[in-house]
Symmetry: C2
Subunit: 635 residues, 2 copies
Amino acid sequence: MLRSIATVSVSGTLVEKLAAIRAAGFDGVEIFENDLLYFDGSPADIRKRCADLGLQIMLFQPFRDFEGVSNERLAQNLNRAQRKFELMHELGTDLVLVCSNVSANVIADDALIVDQLGQLALLAEREGVRVGFEALAWGKHVNSYRHAWRLVDAVDHPSLGLILDSFHTLSIGDPIDPIADIPGDRIAFVQIADAPLQKMDVLEWSRHYRCFPGQGDFDVAGFADRVLATGYRGPFSLEIFNDGFRAAPTAATAADGYRSLLYLEEQAAQRRVAPAAQQPLFTPPAPPSHSGFQFIEFAVDSTSAPRLAQRFAEAGFHAAGRHRSKDVTLYQQGVASIVLNAETDSFASGFFHTHGLSLCASAFQVDDAARVFERATSFGYAPFSGRVGPNERVVPSVRAPDGSLHYFVDARPDEPTLYEADFVLNPPAPDTALSKAEQGRLDRIDHVCLNLPADALDTWILYFKAVFGFEAEPAWLLPDPYGLVRSRAVRSADGSVRIVLNASQDAHTSVAESLNTYRGSGLSHVAFVTDDIFAAVEQLRARDVRLLKIPPNYYDDLEARYDFLDGMVTKMRNAHVLYDRDAQGGEFFHVYTEQMDGRFFLEVVQRTGGYDGYGAVNAPVRLAAQAQRKNGSTT
Amino acid sequence: MLRSIATVSVSGTLVEKLAAIRAAGFDGVEIFENDLLYFDGSPADIRKRCADLGLQIMLFQPFRDFEGVSNERLAQNLNRAQRKFELMHELGTDLVLVCSNVSANVIADDALIVDQLGQLALLAEREGVRVGFEALAWGKHVNSYRHAWRLVDAVDHPSLGLILDSFHTLSIGDPIDPIADIPGDRIAFVQIADAPLQKMDVLEWSRHYRCFPGQGDFDVAGFADRVLATGYRGPFSLEIFNDGFRAAPTAATAADGYRSLLYLEEQAAQRRVAPAAQQPLFTPPAPPSHSGFQFIEFAVDSTSAPRLAQRFAEAGFHAAGRHRSKDVTLYQQGVASIVLNAETDSFASGFFHTHGLSLCASAFQVDDAARVFERATSFGYAPFSGRVGPNERVVPSVRAPDGSLHYFVDARPDEPTLYEADFVLNPPAPDTALSKAEQGRLDRIDHVCLNLPADALDTWILYFKAVFGFEAEPAWLLPDPYGLVRSRAVRSADGSVRIVLNASQDAHTSVAESLNTYRGSGLSHVAFVTDDIFAAVEQLRARDVRLLKIPPNYYDDLEARYDFLDGMVTKMRNAHVLYDRDAQGGEFFHVYTEQMDGRFFLEVVQRTGGYDGYGAVNAPVRLAAQAQRKNGSTT
């Protein structure tokens, strides 16, 4: 299937946009009129540039406020159309998007509109071009594709087709099933956009909040499926107005756009409610099933290595082994594994990266590592090959959006484990002989939380959905004392892998990043599961781990909000344990360590009764407590 | 009159907030419940901290979803209220804000609600506290102050009063005149917020877009006037939920908040539609009347001085004099004056400051310089005193929000002019003997345009309104190839002084700034008036000034949009002149020079037929042309 994107969807000058769009893999572009007006050359220059790049100009847009007008105005509009048709010849495209009239004094007379669109179709025919008519969600008289289709159908001229746009349909809750009844050859073009659900004016929503399919809340796959059911053979074309994208790195945005169309094709193919599409769709290897984190890996140097090692030792981890061929150490507790990598070529040159302590790698347990690797690279994510020593396992890996490595590890019953193959393992630590009460209370990684640069959230959401098959949870807006943080969690269907992505909303709480790449996310914290939060706290304290002090008023308020067993709130208050309860009565207990060097910290969590969140409601008190801790205690 | 602010209005920890609020001059605070919950100490600690600072705790807020509930729920709610009343004793405040119920299943029965509010009032009386009832604009049953007042009036208990909030009233277009009929002693508290007009859900609007009075579009002064007409003797208290403020420097935001209340008092006093208020209001010296820019002053060093001097010479300026006691040079053309200051203590240490070429000072012609100075300092803006040589004029000046200096100069018919007093003026330049056609075509400064750090726009708007008595024009959102720019112009009533303020919307197009200050705006460009744009272009070209090339397609589109005399569009195209026309037929012709070192540039403008804007519609093509120029010509 042909893949296209409107030039308005990415940042930069037109020259930069076209180069990035081609590099991302697109077959064609919609030339947005302003990009043409602002271009330092003629329409023919754009045509040549696109031809040289191998990009087809699929569409010129928009042509506004044509229909439902007085006769005098119609003459002017046909004149205006004539000019634009001539421009299209120069530009080398034969299709123009006419969007429904938004003017307050449009004449709401369908017969008149059919006549006027018919005149436009005749003019287009004479000029050898085609017109596509699209209903804007805020069109004054025509605001639904069904209405637009009735008009186009009535005109019944081969030079006039219908243009569909997922945003205009899904934003107003228009039913999508009737799309499948439109003859595919009458659909001139299909524009694709997703968006987060917002309570706002639909025009403002459309102009500032659109995003790539998979990044928002719309059923774009269902929409695409109904379009494919019509037999439509044209392109899917992204048309994204997004304030963040306007300021984001051009190449990264274009690459994400292309991936989002691949992802959409896969999703749409799975929805198939209608006869098989006549178009070949992208069919990557299936997403993995997950069994949790294998390990997370920190880049360390001679200063940071002992400090991090001590921090994990205090938290109950034991040194489990050393890598056979690299300066890499393994720490374990329960099934949680931490790797400290002191190799000089590891991802982060320093200990604290721009956005905090950096994870140089994360490893994920999957059913078939080779298949996930194939899937990731088929979406255009970069493969990685590192040095592999004799008899060490070759672990498929790709680069995450920040340049760190994601390893995929599958279970191989007949082979040595990854750790056995790659590490010289220490003899069982003495404390394994200890009683349960004396052993480490942490079992496995519950989730990791990453601090992302502003505007990088959508890139990561798409990555985890496309490569990992993760689900994305609704976003939270969290008040930090120094600005708002947008937070969104992704997770495997079984909940065994969970990653929380936090991005600052503004320049103050984030760190300035380069225009070229999103490189450099930081690890905020790692959360470990325990089955007894109070025993875990006791043990951490016995090892002199400093816990983040939670303000006493928090507990007074907790007591006012919920019923607790006698003494429970006191117990939580004394242990600095935070609390959340879901609508089904599931409970979440969690406690934080103090930050290391003012940034990275550990969390210990206990989930009961099927609680499935992350205590986001407690993030503001945690952020405030951390800020107060940095400023020195106040009382 | 007492001045107060809710702790939610500024960034930081509670300790930082209280210190900044006190330093700004406020008499008291509203303690927002979350700030209390997150505070690392007891309510009594907050009480003591406020007492030590000399801040009165005016109000505790909010208490939600009390009224219109079942009997069982009422008992719970009274219990909850009891707890909060006890907390208020600890906190040392006797007033709590109860906001109208937003729950979907509120019982819409006014008699029931009067009964329930009555029970709350009795409980409050027993506890020695007072309750203020406020209608939220999105309250489920009660969403207007008029409804809330009917309920409070019916309860008729001294422990229950009405709380007014300008946002909740003005956002839903509630009439303000009836406020004046409420007995002032029944109004328990008054919250103040402004907001820009937005087409969006009122809850989202309230939570993210409120701003200080004078920064938005509401008639807050009219609201305040009606409140004062009631005889209300309590405080005006700012309650601002603003995403930008959450991330802005705490002290700067608090200082602006205090100034905004002073400004509001002045504005409200001028509105006086009702009997004189019983409260003393802030009455600063009157704002100035303006007669244009006196000069603008650049900080230069030995490298930049000759380059800037050459640039202005090319534009037709002549060296008019040297300062008597400082390394300062004056350039003039028509009545436009440019000062290059090479003193080492001038504002900018380097040529290009963080945000571009910096203006170290601007001087404004006013009717009474001493009065403007008094006005500025009465609003808390910092006075400045520089070195003054023998017989040089002492020019009153204050620091603008970026730390640069603003001088006020008045006409003194019986004294030497400022330039005669301070400068050794050159003999008239030879070209003054030249014919009009050979003389410089630029007459005076039309406007200057500043690039501001993100989030600094509101600070500058308030400054220019309060000190200069300027009007602020509606904001524009301008697409730059690398992100959106928010642009807002301020101007004197007569249009003789105009300043355009541009602020990037995001981290990419702005430059990271310190949390402590907004120091460091940059000069984007200076626009000069001409009475013949084409003659001015010819003259600039004769002096080898390079003009910014405007893309040819811009002119094709212009031709399609407007009627022009034959040859006019060709003339504009050849001269790279941009064009705008207002609804009354007023025209704007403007041309830009290329950027100097990729940043600062000059503009020449011609206004006809009363055109009063800045050609903002052309800013995107200018921004794109500049970006393309930087990336190298594309054709």
